[in-house]
């Protein structure tokens, strides 16, 4: 529950902290005390420009960008060295087993959310997966369902909220975890409660409190994204927009 409270606090902080980061819009640049560049905004960019990338609601941009670079430093100094060690020294079958174990818990999350979304097909698919993998697959360590060509939908509480018409709300960079939005960030809380309950069902206490660390390592080592390495100097803007597009698509799927 400590983790949950920490998340709540972060989200609340994000909600309350209005930052001053967003300094340079059209007016500010024109008003600045510096000489005009050769190609100023006014010369090339039409006033009525429709720019989907610029239209993502991001009132906490200054704070978000700071968290973005915090995540970059955390990635480089802690997270990636750990996942690299994990990949280098833990044999493939063991890593795969751990991934399968967490995927099984995620399938449980999908099951719960599919029910909440009144999506019987996805509910049936994930129920089938969880049943088979938790039994024949020994607590989920072996992914028998995928070998049997079971489809694997992915639903979380953020998508459930979206399914019932809740918008994404402002863009939020979550420390350690990465890009998200207010709706999905809050949606993590019920998913986490469910996950904690699921672990409580069969894990011994010391394991229950450290399991999140392994979950994080497993998740990070499967995401190829590296902060500031897309080659675009406008990466933050692009990631912010892609995240929004992707989450809309996830809800629509």
């Amino acid at each position: 529950m400590k983790t949950l409270r920490a998340y709540g606090a972060v989200l609340l902080a994000a909600n309350l902290l209005l930052t001053n980061g967003c300094a340079s819009n059209r007016q500010d640049m024109a008003q600045s005390d510096y000489p005009q560049p050769l190609y100023p905004v006014e010369r090339l960019v039409p006033e009525d420009l429709q720019d989907a990338q610029a239209e993502i609601y991001d009132p906490f941009e200054g704070l978000n960008k700071r968290i973005y670079s915090f995540n970059y430093y955390f990635d480089r100094t802690v997270f990636l060295p750990v996942t690299n060690t994990w990949r280098r020294y833990v044999p493939y079958f063991a890593r795969k087993g751990v991934s399968n174990f967490f995927n099984n818990i995620r399938d449980l999350r999908t099951l719960a959310n599919s029910i909440l979304q009144l999506a019987p097909e996805k509910a049936a698919q994930s129920a089938g997966r969880v049943l088979i993998n938790s039994t024949v697959g020994i607590y989920g360590f072996i992914d028998v369902a995928t070998d049997l060509d079971f489809p694997r939908p992915s639903e979380d509480f953020g998508q459930t909220l979206g399914r019932w018409g809740v918008g994404q709300g402002p863009f939020v960079m979550i420390p350690f975890l990465g890009p998200s939005n207010m709706r999905d960030g809050i949606g993590m809380i019920p998913d986490l409660v469910l996950q904690t309950e699921a672990y409580g069902g069969f894990l011994a206490k010391p394991l229950r409190s450290t399991i999140f660390v392994f979950d994080a390592i497993d998740t990070r080592s499967q995401v190829p994204f590296r902060y500031y390495e897309t080659g675009s100097v406008y990466e933050y803007e692009t990631v912010r927009w892609l995240n929004s597009v992707k989450r809309d698509l996830d809800v629509a799927k």
């Binding site: 510096y34 000489p35 050769l38 190609y39 390495e229 803007e237 597009v245």
Partner: protein, 457 residues
């Protein structure tokens, strides 16, 4: 959706406007087949490989080839990436360089290395094309081809890649052929020095594609004077001949946007929509090099003019990062007010909007040329354009027997007549395919076999 299935729906048209080179090529092919026939008669040995010389790349439309590349079932079967020990490394090229705060993360040059298990092996340097990274898919494709031949791989980003400009460019403005060559040469030496202790190099070779091939020609020339590596073999894959001609062509591609350039935004929106659809289907990495196009294509099935516009747009995406990076590195005052230091966490959207609308030629005339003109006071604008061209080292290229070229007669980045220049200067050291667009056939089996054979003597 697989690349294969969508290929069947493609309407492949015949190549246009390249009849001159094709006639010459047909003549060359006739001469070649005659020679092969004589060889067969003389040796009385039936060599099935001789028949494989016939070029059967499946996509004949140069725009489709450029955008889609080689369909998987026609691609060379190379060692998969997972089986090669690729390592990403960082290097501080200029020890005391102060980087502007807004690009603080680009202080070290990032590059990729893959070492052979044995202690001694030859080394292959790779140079990426415009805006592409050390670990972009084309460099990785070449790395796989050369690693399985026994090369240690040192793969570098293009000098036009934001990380390279910030960390490894001495001037902060890429595109100057001689400065880029110096920067690359320095980076190569430092990159190799970093692994030298662990491995012995039995020789050095270099391959670059597109602008990277162009860069490689000038690095080879520099190396012929300094002899640090004394390259055994250098391969240039689809290089431009004259930089200005190629960037003009790229700018003109953007003009193919349906309804004209004033519809830039609507077109961009539609491309983005197509990109979203692709993104929905596969959640792999987000990288903005040239192959972002291939994925968009599958969802979009555009006409030739739209494909041309797409190619132009993809280059715009990389040039927009180049422009802001060079502007903050030099405080030139191009899209950012001179003297203004962009804070680390500032909103960059206005810069992105401007940079995406500045053409390559605008950049050339209003930033690149004025920036370097003081170094060459004796040169006119046209003289400077002529200097940034393979033609400025023609005599060297004619005599450099260790440099080979592969190219396509219908490459979209070549101006009319430039393929003849390649043919004339490199002669037997140039393999020119009749079609394949810009790099569209690089992964094609027969082409890859040829690429490997260049280094097999």
């Amino acid at each position: 959706m697989s690349a294969g299935r969508s290929m069947e729906k493609l309407n492949c048209t015949v190549i246009e406007s390249v009849t001159g080179p094709i006639t010459r090529l047909v003549a060359a092919l006739i001469a070649l087949s005659a020679a092969v026939f004589v060889a067969i008669v003389l040796t009385a040995a039936w060599v099935p490989e001789a028949l494989a010389e016939e070029y059967r790349f499946p996509i004949q439309d140069r725009w489709v080839a450029t955008v889609v590349g080689t369909p998987t079932q026609f691609a060379a079967d190379l060692t998969p990436v997972e089986r090669i020990p690729f390592r990403k490394r960082r290097l501080r090229i200029f020890a005391d360089r102060e980087l502007p705060d807004v690009i603080f993360y680009n202080r070290d040059m990032i590059y990729t290395v893959a070492l052979q298990k044995q202690k001694s092996a030859p080394v292959m340097f790779l140079i990426a094309g415009t805006g592409a990274a050390h670990n972009g898919s084309k460099n990785m494709l070449l790395a796989r081809a050369f690693y399985e031949m026994g090369y240690n791989i040192v793969s570098l980003s293009s000098p036009t890649y934001a990380n390279f400009i910030s960390s490894a460019s001495s001037t902060g403005v890429p595109g100057h052929v001689f400065h880029d060559a110096e920067d690359l040469y320095r980076a190569m030496q430092m990159a190799w020095d970093a692994v030298k202790g662990k491995r012995t190099a039995t020789g050095f070779a270099m391959t670059g594609y597109s602008l990277g091939g162009f860069n490689a020609a000038f690095v080879a020339q520099l190396d012929s004077q300094r002899k640090v590596f004394d390259f055994d073999k250098v391969l240039l894959i689809n290089p431009p001949v004259n930089l200005y001609n190629s960037i003009s062509l790229l700018d003109r591609m953007i003009e193919n946007i349906p309804g004209g350039t004033e519809n830039y935004d609507q077109f961009y929106e539609r491309v983005i929509q197509a990109f979203s659809d692709v993104y929905k289907r596969n959640e792999d990495t987000v990288s903005f090099d040239e192959d972002f196009l291939a994925r968009v294509f599958l969802a979009y099935k555009p006409r030739d003019e739209e494909l041309a516009a797409l190619v132009g747009l993809a280059f715009r995406l990389s040039s927009s990062s180049l422009i802001l990076t060079s502007d903050v590195m030099t405080d030139f005052g191009f899209i950012k007010p001179k003297g203004y230091e962009i804070p680390r966490h500032e909103n960059l959207t206005p810069y992105r909007q401007v940079a995406g609308r500045v053409g390559f030629t605008d950049f050339y005339h209003d930033f690149f040329y004025p920036f370097y003109a003081q170094e060459h006071p004796e040169l006119s604008r046209d003289g400077f354009i002529a200097l940034m061209s393979l033609t400025s080292i023609t005599q060297y290229l004619r005599d450099a027997n260790h440099i080979e070229v592969i190219h396509n007669a219908d490459d979209v980045i070549l101006a009319p007549g430039e393929i003849d220049y390649i043919d004339d200067v490199f002669g037997a050291r140039a393999r020119i395919y009749p079609y394949g667009g810009h790099l569209g056939n690089m992964a094609y089996r027969d082409v890859m076999t040829h690429i490997q054979s260049v280094f097999r003597e």
